[in-house]
């Protein structure tokens, strides 16, 4: 058994269950801290399914979504989450310039900070960029994806989806399949799921398998049929099409044949294996439409729904000290 929670009674007086200023990654979080965020998100799922979705707890607070890399889904999810909590949400879409982006980055951080936001959500195409900005600003920072490094809210929403569909995470076998090398989703999920006691496998062609990945506590597979055998969850990753020309994989046809999730291949997984995908999907490349659209197996739209709840929970928790919530100062 892993230790899921120290329980409120075991915390010292004045110590709250999520003692982090920012959410920069899953790395560094204790299992019970991850569980705490999931529990908090659970409540927001209920709110979001009702008709009155508005909660004013972030009323008067300014949330800046600074996206240095293109995104539609994640940006929208954070925007909706902020608005449902009553925050004044400002979106700043900054196309990442090819040169001198670092200088722009720190200057932008200082500029953002001068506008006195209460929470900043950042996506950037360079690993570590969000942590760098976080050092320069006075408010909580949420990592919405940095390079190949981490995408913590994606891992939380995936964990929440799995927990709701399977009733638990501990002991499950989860196969993360596809372009693991370039995937921040994979890294954050590996950290979260292993922390919560899942048996995690990663499945990728040899060109997209990161070196020494087993050091992260996962079992690597180059053969997808073996990798998903008996799995409770099959988590597909998006194959970025530009990888096709980088001599990583020969063609989408070949990729589908060996690493795509087809109906036949899914038969090898556990009987009620859950199919997941962080989106947007390349249908017919990493996943067949039959599988993606199977409402009994696929949790893909549910992942999107959980995304809003998780982001509401994270923003609520991270701004509590700032809002003077009792016990969170």
């Amino acid at each position: 058994m892993i230790e899921i929670s120290p329980g409120p009674s075991s915390l010292s007086p004045g110590v709250h269950p999520f003692p982090h200023r920012h959410l920069l990654g899953i790395n560094g979080l204790q299992p019970w801290e991850i569980t705490y965020l999931l529990d908090e998100a659970e409540a927001w799922v209920t709110v979001n399914r009702g008709t009155a979705k508005h909660d004013g707890r972030l009323s008067g607070l300014t949330q800046i979504n600074a996206f240095f890399e293109n995104s539609t889904r994640t940006l929208l999810s954070f925007e909706i989450a902020g608005k449902r909590l009553g925050a004044d949400v400002v979106n700043m879409a900054v196309a990442s310039s090819s040169v001198k982006k670092g200088e722009t980055l720190l200057d932008t951080a200082l500029t953002l900070n001068a506008m006195r936001p209460d929470v900043i959500v950042i996506r950037h195409d360079a690993s570590g960029a969000v942590a760098l900005i976080a050092e320069k600003v006075d408010c909580p920072v949420l990592n919405a994806g940095d390079g190949r490094h981490e995408h913590p809210t994606q891992a939380l929403l995936d964990a929440l989806t799995i927990r709701r569909r399977k009733g638990r995470i501990e002991g499950l076998t989860v196969a993360i399949c596809g372009d693991v090398l370039h995937s921040r989703v994979a890294r954050s999920n590996i950290l979260a799921l292993t922390a919560l006691g899942a048996n995690v496998r990663v499945v990728a062609p040899p060109t997209l398998m990161p070196p020494a990945i087993e050091a992260m506590g996962v079992t690597p597979f180059l053969d997808m049929d073996r990798g998903i055998e008996g799995a409770d969850v099959v988590m597909m990753l998006r194959l970025q099409r530009e990888r096709m020309t980088g001599a990583y994989v020969p063609s989408s046809r070949e990729y589908l044949a060996f690493y795509g999730l087809t109906r036949e291949r899914l038969e090898r997984a556990g009987k009620n294996a859950l199919v997941m995908h962080p989106g947007p999907m390349n249908r017919g490349v990493e996943i067949e439409s039959h599988v993606a659209d199977d409402i009994h197996r696929s949790a893909i739209t549910e992942q999107v729904e959980m995304g809003v709840a998780v982001r509401m929970a994270c923003m609520d928790v991270l701004t509590r000290a700032r809002r003077g919530v009792e016990g969170w100062a």
């Binding site: 570590g128 020494a212 992260m216």
Partner: protein, 410 residues
């Protein structure tokens, strides 16, 4: 006439003969005039070494910046300057200017760019640059992708009797990489290249140098496979030498920590196994010299996301203190360390330096091998203080640097 300088009460280390004696060194008119029991003339500046060491000034091969304050603080009296300057040292006039730049406190010996603009396409005017003062030819930070160009480079530079100083990293593998492939790069999601990128380049260049009969020097090597290739080549009689930096002897890629850009180096910090192999290669003599790789970078170059940050560290001031770890760990003797820092690099470049002899240039360093201090990037003397060793307590401090009979740091 300069005021004579007398160093007394010293342990004198002569790296050429591997000998240690006691006594003093007297300098006058830019030369060493007496060694051993010296009579201090009246009016001479007197340095009482108090039982610490006097040795030839260090010669640092392959610095990216002729940084006089850092060098003086580090006991370095001559540097071989990499051609990666702005503009690139690919023209005789630029080489001549660089040669004169820091005199008299620091002598700069430029390395000529192997190819125009360091683009790896056309040979630069190597002969004319030698006439202008270049003491070697270097490929710069990059590798030359064309084996044809490299082959002609070895043949041509060899005709001018110049060593060819190579950066060994196969660009096809290392392009875009900011770390060595392994657990750290995987966890942090940093683009990485396998360490074999270095050995591949070493293997190719050894074969081409062997064919041309040229002297190839690998500026900084860092992997077990590379050192094995050097050992094999030596047995075949290839004219090869190589250097290492203290960073690769003391740190592995774990030092990257959470995107610590001060630890972003080229070649990148390697695995622990490669680090141990580097130490072993120093012990068994495979490694000829130790260089600082001095490449000071300001915060504008370093306060960036890891992969965007410029590689390099300020190394000149910590060169001795970090290298002395090898002596304390009994990897090598103190005279051998001094040789690796002075006489060996001098002889690689054909410089009349790195030795203690009457009549020779009075380039000296006085240092206390046991003096403790703490590396502090805010207190570095050089152009910038970016070092992955910031905060590290170290032992071994330069107490005086003498260049051409003049005290340049004390």
């Amino acid at each position: 006439m300069t005021t004579p300088v007398a160093i007394i009460n010293a342990r004198i280390i002569d790296p050429v003969n591997g000998r240690e004696t006691r006594g003093g060194v007297l300098c006058a008119n830019r030369k060493i005039v007496a060694i051993g029991q010296v009579q201090v003339p009246s009016g001479a500046k007197r340095i009482d070494a108090k039982g610490t060491i006097v040795a030839p000034g260090f010669v640092d091969v392959g610095v990216f910046s002729a940084d006089p304050h850092a060098c003086a603080a580090g006991g370095i009296t001559r540097v071989a300057l990499m051609p990666d300057q702005s503009p690139v040292l690919d023209d005789p006039a630029l080489v001549a200017r660089a040669t004169a730049a820091r005199k008299p406190d620091l002598w700069v010996h430029p390395l000529a760019a192997a190819t125009r603009g360091l683009e790896g396409l056309e040979l630069a005017e190597i002969g004319l640059m030698k006439a202008a003062g270049a003491v070697g030819v270097a490929t710069g930070r990059r590798w030359i992708a064309s084996s044809g160009v490299m082959s002609r480079l070895f043949a041509y530079a060899n005709a001018f009797d110049l060593p060819i100083i190579v950066h060994a990293e196969d660009g096809g593998l290392a392009d875009g990489a900011a770390a060595t492939a392994g657990e750290t790069a995987t966890r942090l999601g940093i683009p990485s290249a396998p360490s074999v990128a270095e050995a591949l380049a070493v293997a190719r260049d050894l074969m081409l140098a062997e064919q041309a009969g040229a002297h190839v020097h690998f500026r900084q090597l860092s992997t077990r496979a590379s050192f094995d290739l050097i050992r094999q080549a030596r047995k075949r009689g290839v004219r090869v030498s190589c250097g290492v930096s203290p960073a690769h002897l003391l740190l592995s890629d774990i030092a990257i920590g959470a995107f610590r850009t001060y630890a972003r180096l080229s070649p990148p910090l390697r695995s622990e196994d490669d680090r141990l192999a580097t130490i072993e290669a120093v012990r068994d003599g495979t490694v000829d010299l130790i260089c600082s790789g001095h490449d000071p970078r300001g915060t504008d170059d370093k306060r960036l996301p890891y992969a965007d940050a410029a590689p390099g560290m300020a190394g000149a001031e910590t060169l001795l203190a970090l290298s002395l770890t090898l002596v304390r760990d009994e990897v090598i003797s103190l005279p051998r360390l001094v040789a690796m820092l002075s006489s060996t690099p001098a002889s690689l470049l054909g410089l009349p330096a790195g030795q203690l002899k009457v009549g020779g240039d009075a380039d000296l360093v006085v240092f206390d091998p046991d003096a403790p201090w703490r590396v502090d990037d805010d207190k570095m003397q050089g152009q910038a203080g970016n070092t992955p060793f910031d905060g590290l307590p170290v032992q071994g401090k330069v107490t005086a640097t003498i260049k051409g009979g003049e005290i340049v740091s004390r």
